[in-house]
């Protein structure tokens, strides 16, 4: 029973959504459940946040090596959560000064904004920027793998890179008219509109088929591993 009911819920919910897609009166249900999901995901933060605290509190109390970092995480988490939920240091909205809670939680100048601006944002941007190094090392690795697939990948990447920067026209602009089509920027546009389009098209069709098949298997209960064992 503990497994049958969820299976039935998934099946009914899924097929209702499929049928609703064809009925003008119910076609907007898709948008409604997306909002519901957002609410549900926000409620589920309690589980995630609780787990985060639990993991790091346990590390701290067990004094596992590096437990000091767990203390830092807990302190950062609790401070950010309290000043954010409490709107600490946030002025009311100028339009509604008599409502103390009406200000924006991320108002400029508030402690929450400060932590976002000077801690969150730089960290986020720096991690993202590390990709520049990883792109280089990945290209280097592909370069060493001497099979035809890797060569195709790297050669295409190189041509596109040339075509999208000033280096392309500078290096290949002198090509005579007969092989004009091989100039880096022309080749780039050809590669993008022909090969890239063809490959992506087939991949997208495959993804759509895969999505449909996985969804159907879940709705029919063929695939049910996500529901757990049915035990407590």
């Amino acid at each position: 029973m503990k497994r049958q009911i969820p299976l039935l819920i998934a099946m009914i919910a899924g097929f209702v959504m499929i049928v609703a897609y064809f009925i003008p009166y119910t076609v907007s249900w898709g948008d409604t459940v997306i909002v519901w999901f957002d609410v549900l995901a926000a409620i589920a933060f309690v589980l995630g946040g609780g787990n985060l605290l639990k993991v790091h509190l346990k590390k701290t109390s067990d004094q596992v090596p590096g437990w000091g970092y767990s203390v830092i995480t807990i302190v950062a988490f609790v401070i950010m959560l309290v000043i954010g939920l409490g709107k600490i240091g946030v002025n009311p909205a100028a339009k509604y000064p008599e409502f103390a809670w009406s200000g924006k939680f991320s108002e400029m100048g508030s402690p929450f904004w400060w932590l976002y601006e000077y801690v969150f944002k730089p960290l986020q941007a720096t991690i993202f920027s590390m990709l520049a190094f990883y792109v280089a090392s990945a290209a280097f690795r592909a370069f060493r793998a001497k099979n035809i697939e890797a060569i195709l990948l790297l050669a295409t990447a190189f041509i596109i890179l040339l075509g999208r920067t000033a280096a392309g026209p500078a290096l290949t602009g002198w090509f005579p008219d007969a092989i004009e089509g091989l100039e880096a920027d022309k080749l780039t546009s050809y590669l993008m509109t022909v090969f890239n389009t063809a490959g992506n098209r087939a991949i997208m069709i495959g993804i759509a088929l895969g999505t449909a098949s996985v969804s159907l298997k879940i709705l029919l209960g063929v695939e049910r591993s996500y529901l757990g064992s049915g035990e407590e």
Binding site: F22, A44, L52, L123, Q124, I203, L209, K217, E223, S225
Partner: protein, 428 residues
Amino acid sequence: MNRFLIVSLTASAIALAGPPQQTAIAQEAKPAPPSNLTATDHPWDNGEVLDLAWDAPAGGNADGEYFILRTVAKVGDQIVTHDFKIIDSAPGDATSIGVEVKHHLKRAAVRQLGDRIDFEAILATGEYKFTVGYLFQIVSVNADGVRSSPAQTAEIAYATMQPFDLGRLALLCVTIILCGAVIFWIRRARSGKPIKVRKIAGLEAVDEAVGRATEMGRPILYVPGIQDINEIQTIASMTILSHVSKTAAEYDAKVEVPTSKSLVMTTARETVQAAFLAAGRPDAYNKDLIYYVTDEQFGYVAYLQGMMVREKPAACFYMGAFFAESLILAETGNSIGAIQIAGTAMPAQLPFFVAACDYTLIGEEFFAASAYLSGSPEELGSLKGQDVGKVFVALVLIIGVLMATAGSMLDSPAIKEAVEYLKNTLLT
């Protein structure tokens, strides 16, 4: 209600859009106007289209075109002033067109109603949905750009909604074909007929990766992507996690699943617990190995790359929806010498996984992984069903391309029209 400016329909003088000088010049060579303009609700739709039809002017208008003008004439029981605006055009040889009408008012029409804010609030309640009535005009425009006097619809037209959207009939048929094929092959497999599928290298390597982790006494890292459980790739990832953790339970290896979403954490726990039970090792299940890190994409990545360098997992699985972090993960995994198997349906991230991982499941292969790993006949049957879908695609593409080529070579309008019908009616 009094705040709405009420103007009688009949009393309104209708001025055509367009600069006055042009009208003055046009006085002499004005083309004849079309006649009998009617607007009727488009049948079997979601109530957003009105069909216009008219008779061509005497002498025809084949060289010119038509301009369609529209105004909101009535909202609920409120009558509104006319403010005809050009909304569409039709070729000179046409005598009908479908025009889209959304159930909200254009700014100009609302302003005429006096109090814009309040009116929008009322509209937002949905009270006036499908009660917005429209009037249309049509003018013929000759090859010199001179406009005729307008012909107008006699009655206010309303768009209404029907219980089925006929425009989606072709979609319904395609859905039935695709799903039917999958169901047919699942049933066939259930009846015991043998199912043969080709090998996929990345999936053959799963056992090897888990085995290696066991030998080395190091953990397995499983990253289910950064999207929530409402993303089909995350759901597919859970089904793969089930098999990976079952194999790990059999080998007695440790699987660590850090997640970036709370709901993914709870679902992954259910999945892994069930897998350990199925492997006969329920006691070995440790829910603390499946934990939440942070919802922030790069915070999650910062944790993962640090963790990978410190714990040095022997095998890394990246299965799910990934964005820019794909390469950070795959390159870090590479630097610690882990066996890496990735699978995603994000076309933009596939290049990075292909370049940096040992095996990559591309798009549809990723969705097929769970069927392969389970090895159950009904799951494998579903893959055959997907192949039927691909045959369908290939057939439609080949027929469509051949038709389009024939239409282009023979310059045949009939074939071209058939191709247009295929593309714009059947395949939308």
